[in-house]
Subunit: 395 residues, 2 copies
């Protein structure tokens, strides 16, 4: 007899972005001519950079000819790409071997897949507000979850609570949704906590490329000791506009062990059994991202998003609204005005100034009363949204 | 405290294809000038067809311009591709809705991922000889596995054993490694067994495109009743040469339920939580495979592999060797001559005629004394290998 995985029944019914989409659809039915300024879902708006496009055309052409045709791939990633990513770390003073880099289809895929390494009795610790899939992936596994709440008091950067004994710790820095970034010292406290609790940190570095303050870490492996307690999960989605092209990578050090088992060996075994690797065409696109030309071109795109964030921050500053993020992150996490709930603020922005954002309460209860703005939109639309937002908030 | 998934320790140490690779490396060190004829691992040799290449160039170019740029995708697959695949089924008289088709990165990824729907106490039934990842994916989950042995007596097509009560049944037809194909009547027996045992059939149809006998099923959904007991997992790897390009699809009917839970709803929830979908460039390549032009071009390629199989079968017929497969499959499963074990035969072919095949014992104990030949190689090399093989066997 087949027994379904009953943990799916423990998932909550609705999903944040589906709820937003339904309200937008309803609004557009009543106002079919409305033009909405979308600062909601964190999708990029700029096309892929020329170096990546050129590399993909070449990769496609290679699949057309027997001499260059690529069949089955190394499951953990193509060697040149793994080597290039290791070099990307080494250029920042972080000693990573190429075989500690695993190519993935993206961070969202990897964040679920990597959980297979851990027994379902391991307690996961999630800082809220959080990307909803962290929680859902654990609930679907039947893994117990504990939460640590962020707030404006701790700058939305919670630190270890010694009364909590977790085995898996999710850290996301720069954070989605708050845009807050942990310092070296703060990450050190988390590594020390992981050491005391024999825990593993899952470090979500999807937004590392947005850090511009050189004093802030872009990788947990900048902090000594992380190599025995952390796995870093990265993505090209936001760094290089790969949200629909799909590519990411994970750094899993050979020194990561627990209870006599080596997680690096286990992950190789997982990958060689459970996948045949990421498309060669997309991996070759990834190689182009890390070329000198590609790195220059993606910085030009990131600069557009950074300027968008500055424009939004200026509007909030001028309206006297509290926020964090924006400086080293594409997200701005603002306090809703005058005691508005997150969804009330969402509805007012939609109905009164046709601006879409993301209600903070969708990222966990302690997000109530906050609102996320994304800087990934078109520069002209962001400027218009900033202006409307400022006027709205100063009313 | 983090607790590793200890089931990884239950995996056997070595992997079939790694073992083959090591012996080949050793031979080449001793015979650096040797040219080996490779009929081992089932990788394709022909490049992608022109319609697919053209579609990928177009898809790449679309990622270069803001007006056509594709960001986040529907996690379950792009609607046009899901609709096209549903139509591919409907054209063969099988009623499938587009939302019952899920786009995947390939069968090997999906065969592991789909297990998440089932409780780890569910017993899996695997017909041996089998693709080794079936077993390994279950062992890594800690799921109990029972085996049913195929043999020349049952034509390498085992039928239900009423004394075994499994919850998940793996069927692969045309089979890898044996090339044997279940008839409608035989699949009906398995569906009846699934019904009696409240089980789910995982039907691996990766080789369906090789069936040319119109009386044989290419999909389990050709058999009435399958829609409440089966999931069909398909791949473009062998059909269209996508082993390195990576694309597959799964048909999971809305009527598949157990214990009050609907597996279709669960799989949507899994995909929307655990992935952001398959690269838009690769999905557009998939659309081209199912275009009239693409379908014609892939048939031209399949015909090359079919002729290769005929060439190998002729050699075995002339040498009086028992085999199955080859007719509706790219694989030929031959009996090793004169009581040779599978690995002895491997070594003799490698050393004496420089032909590489796959030892049958690598697919399970009942594969001992058998050997798999793949017809995916270059036509000239297959002809040469057939000729050497015949002479070797007639000695």
């Amino acid at each position: 007899m087949v027994i379904p995985n009953h943990h799916y029944a423990d998932l909550k019914g609705s999903y944040l972005f589906r709820g937003i989409s339904e309200r937008i659809q309803q609004y557009l039915r009543q106002n079919p001519d409305a033009h909405l300024l979308r600062l909601g879902i964190g999708d990029v708006s700029l096309p892929l950079c020329p170096a990546v496009i050129e590399a993909m055309h070449k990769a496609v052409e290679e699949q057309a000819h027997a001499e260059t045709f690529q069949g089955y791939l190394s499951e953990c990633g193509m060697d040149p790409l793994r080597e290039t990513i290791a070099e990307y770390y080494r250029s920042r003073g972080i000693a990573i071997d190429a075989d500690e880099v695993f190519v993935s289809s993206g961070a969202s895929d990897e964040l679920g897949d990597i959980l297979h390494l851990f027994d379902r009795s391991t307690i996961s610790l999630i800082m809220e507000p959080a990307y909803p899939a962290y929680t859902d992936a654990n609930i679907m596994d039947g893994r117990p979850v504990q939460y640590l709440s962020a707030s404006s008091e701790n700058g939305f950067l919670p630190l270890p609570d010694e009364s909590v004994h977790a085995g898996l710790i999710y850290l996301c820095s720069p954070n989605n949704p708050t845009g807050a970034v942990y310092s070296h010292d703060q990450l050190k406290l988390w590594i020390d906590y992981a050491k005391r609790n024999q825990a593993v940190i899952l470090f979500d570095a999807a937004y590392e490329a947005f850090v511009r303050d050189p004093s802030l870490p872009r990788s947990i492996f900048e902090v000594p000791g992380a190599e025995t307690f952390a796995i870093e999960i990265c993505s090209l989605s936001k760094t290089a506009g790969f949200t629909g092209t799909r590519l990411g990578y994970t750094v899993l050090p050979k020194t990561l062990c627990a209870d006599g088992m080596n997680f690096h060996d286990m992950w190789i075994r997982n990958r060689t059994t459970r996948t045949n690797g990421v498309s060669c065409i997309i991996q070759k696109a990834g190689l182009a991202v890390f070329s000198p030309e590609g790195q220059k071109q993606i910085q030009d795109n990131l600069e557009v998003y950074r300027k968008n964030a500055e424009c939004l921050m200026r509007a909030l500053d001028e309206a006297g609204i509290w926020y964090c993020g924006g400086k080293n992150s594409p997200y701005i996490w603002m306090k809703c005005p005058s005691g508005c709930t997150s969804w009330e603020f969402f509805d007012r922005l939609l109905n009164e100034i046709q601006v879409i954002g993301t209600p903070g309460s969708g990222f966990g209860p302690c997000g109530e009363g906050y609102f996320r703005l994304s800087a990934f939109g078109d520069a002209g639309e962001i400027a218009e949204a900033s202006s409307r937002l400022k006027q709205f908030l100063l009313r």
